[in-house]
């Protein structure tokens, strides 16, 4: 009964959003001039968008691999549906909020259904820009998935995705990336979205994981945590590599044009990721006695997140340093969030995306070099370590604080509303049976005999 209502409500929301545009459709198409440069830019941005799209698979493989077999189908469906819902919602409203006509530096207010034929995207066809942005919105939304894995209700997750891609994320995007956005105007720099995508997703993840509560059995009565090992390490490894691959679209694609700078950006990206993984591996080797596999993967991702803001502004060596620091941060953050904050984040999403999203944004204020920004055709600004003083650092911090505040408030409201309506947490019995059964009546691996788990929960 209640379930039927939820379904109907979701369907209604969806159809409502869906119905309106049908009328406006006819005029919703862009006409773009053809030229060789435009074509090259289009090809480049489209391929970058495809790579970023594919990151979805990376996200849900990482999540699925680092959690238990009984919840993996749920992880897969979440991963597919957050992109699908996100694409529709962002096309319909998110894009307008993000890049529509600016209202007070806070939000865009025109161009619903991507109805922006006249707008200027630096010569890039509207739809190439839109697709790239859709893929980004999907990435921002899906970060949540890993942090609330193995216990969030599927219906609540779907609604959360709609709200993140439809409102929470586009507003931040407007602030920082849209001309007229108040942080954009103040000169905050976030080249490919350490803040816009990763901090936003990471703070949603923190709030979500905190409000949904830990998985049943994660913490003992004395608040000490239990380890809940992931069920498929190769799956997590492939997820990591797909994400890394996608980052070659994410960062260099954010140029939105095919300039030689994309090579520089791809290199800073590579070095930061490599340094992050190497540092995380050696750190766990020293701390835990053996090199830890899944933390090394997290290290690579932390490096990638951290270099995302600065990839076009910093030198190769700085990139390696930024990535290396990210590798340190992620290891300590995972411990801190679990043991001090008592928040259960099965895949380390908060540590990777929120912590290193912030670190990466701040790092621009430290490592940016005006000469490099100029060479790459982006803002020519220097950070604290390269003679630029604290000016840029201040702008970066302002941006971080504002975004964290906005996301914390809105996502708390979101999860609070969800809790009071459809509910957000699968109950203990449901978690014991696994979300695959409870939420989808499906077994992910019916042909393999499960092992006897320690806690008597299979």
């Amino acid at each position: 009964m209640r379930r039927t209502l939820v379904v109907l409500a979701l369907a209604a929301v969806f159809l409502a959003l869906f119905a309106t545009p049908a009328l406006a459709g006819e005029e919703g198409e862009a006409r773009t001039p053809e030229s060789s440069v435009t074509s090259l830019d289009t090809v480049w941005v489209l391929i970058a968008a495809a790579l970023v799209f594919f990151m979805q698979a990376g996200f849900f493989f990482l999540e699925g691999g680092l959690t238990r077999a009984k919840n993996v189908s749920n992880a897969m469906l979440k991963g597919v549906m957050d992109f699908c819902l996100g694409a529709l919602v962002f096309w319909m409203i998110g894009f307008a909020f993000m890049f529509g006509f600016d209202r007070g530096g806070f939000v865009g207010t025109s161009g619903f259904l991507a109805n922006m034929a006249g707008a200027d995207w630096n010569g890039l066809p509207l739809y190439a820009f839109l697709l790239f942005q859709i893929a980004f919105a999907g990435a921002a939304a899906t970060i949540l998935a890993g942090a609330v894995a193995e216990r969030i209700k599927f219906s609540a997750y779907c609604i959360a995705t709609v709200c993140i891609t439809g409102l929470i994320y586009p507003v931040v995007g407007h602030w920082i990336w849209a001309e007229g956005g108040w942080l954009y105007d103040r000169g905050m720099l976030d080249f490919a979205g350490s803040t816009v995508v990763h901090t936003v997703g990471g703070i949603c993840a923190l709030v979500g994981a905190w409000m949904v509560g830990p998985r049943t059995g994660k913490f003992n009565p004395d608040r000490s945590p239990n380890a809940i090992p992931g069920h498929n390490i190769p799956m997590a490894a492939l997820g990591t590599f797909i994400l890394w691959l996608g980052w070659y679209g994410f960062n260099p694609g954010s140029t939105l044009k095919a300039s030689p700078a994309i090579a520089t950006i791809a290199m800073t990206t590579t070095l930061a990721a490599s340094a992050g993984a190497v540092v995380a591996m050696f750190l766990t080797w020293i701390r835990y006695g053996k090199p830890d596999v899944s933390m090394s993967f997290n290290g690579a991702l932390a490096g990638l997140v951290a270099i995302t803001a600065g990839c076009a502004y910093v030198s190769m060596v700085s990139a390696a340093v930024i990535g290396g620091v990210a590798g340190l941060l992620v290891v300590f953050a995972v411990e801190f969030i679990e043991r001090r904050l008592g928040v259960d984040d099965p895949v380390g999403a908060i540590s990777v995306h929120a912590v290193n999203g912030i670190w990466g944004t701040v790092a621009v204020g430290l490592f940016a070099q005006a000469s490099l920004g100029e060479a790459n055709g982006v803002a020519a600004v220097s950070g604290l370590f390269f003679g630029g003083g604290v000016a840029q650092l201040g702008r970066q911090l302002l941006g971080v604080v504002s975004v964290v505040a906005w996301v914390a408030v809105t996502s708390t409201a979101l999860f609070f509303a969800l809790k009071k309506t459809v509910g957000i947490r699968v109950d203990d019995e449901g978690q014991k049976a696994g979300l695959d059964i409870t939420e989808h009546n499906l077994e992910a691996y019916p042909d393999f005999q499960p092992t006897i788990s320690e806690k008597g929960v299979i």
């Binding site: 014991k432 499906l442 077994e443 499960p450 092992t451 006897i452 806690k455 008597g456 929960v457 299979i458």
Partner: protein
Amino acid sequence: MKKVEALIRPERLEPVMEELRKLGYPGVTITEVKGHGKQKGVTHMWRGAEYRVEFLPKLKVEAVVLSEDVGRVVNALIRAARTGSIGDGKIFVYDVADAVRIRTGEAGFNAI
């Protein structure tokens, strides 16, 4: 010596182990089995088609204990494994002719 063999719900393993430990019988062997009894199977769904899983996962917990302890062990197991609904499982008791500890070669009740 007797072997007490309990077929329990997987999620009751922890309390069962707890009780056995209390009675001084930490030594057990556990097997993943599938059971069928009064309990109806569950219905799963595959692409819109329902199907029954007739055999449900159970754990078989085997503990060889001294004959005089059988009653206490059985009662403890019932206490720990019972939920009151169908499918709680059964306990069977068997005679054990002999027991040997491989490491030492000790036989009989020293081996338990």
